[in-house]
Amino acid sequence: MALILIKYGPDHPAEGVKLSSAREGDCAVLVQNGVYWAACDALKDAKCPVYAIKDDFLARGYEEEQLDIELIDYDALVELIERNEGFLG
């Protein structure tokens, strides 16, 4: 079980590698410019739940109902950090 943190958008060389390494039992969180992934089809192939930080998502002009992704706050992110033994980010 690993937490995968995605901080940059789809053009970034490392982020696709991180996402494609996801396994069942992991979870991925989109933070900062990582929320741009929410607008990509690539997330449909993700093998684990993917969340986005709500503040980062709204700050970039998206609306909650616009994209199909679960939004979380920083308290929830802290819980995920505590819950997952491994880290990829």
Partner: protein
């Protein structure tokens, strides 16, 4: 039980400091209960080129880490497809790098407790 940490560098060794920083951070961990490894991918693989010499531009040499790689036995990995993409044909053996395929990365990540992209 020691934790295994993989430092991943994807930025160029010329014009960014991250290759040197990854090695420096790794070497500093041998005093702790940590087993560090280094993965070079994307532009980062250029660091393995025998003729890669950032010092020609007044920057920090990447060769300076080789002595410690040898001393500590730090595992160094590089993505083969990226070596091809960036035209690295003459790999400097001083890094003792293991060349792995892109599709082997998920398994490499799973072998480590923490994977830090720099």
């Amino acid at each position: 039980m020691s934790k295994k940490v993989l430092f991943v560098v994807y930025q160029s060794p010329v014009g960014s400091i991250w290759v040197n920083e990854a090695f420096r951070t790794a070497f500093g961990m041998y005093g702790e209960d940590v087993e560090p490894s280094i993965l070079l991918m994307s532009e980062g693989v250029v660091a393995l080129a025998r003729e890669c010499k950032p010092e020609k531009l007044g920057l920090l040499s990447v060769k300076m880490v080789q002595r410690y790689v040898k001393r500590y036995g730090t595992p160094v990995y590089a993505v083969g497809e990226d070596l091809d993409t960036y035209g690295v044909r003459d790999v400097d053996e001083g890094f003792s790098a293991q060349i792995i395929r892109k599709d082997e990365l998920p398994e490499l990540f799973r072998q480590h407790d923490y994977v830090i992209f720099m």
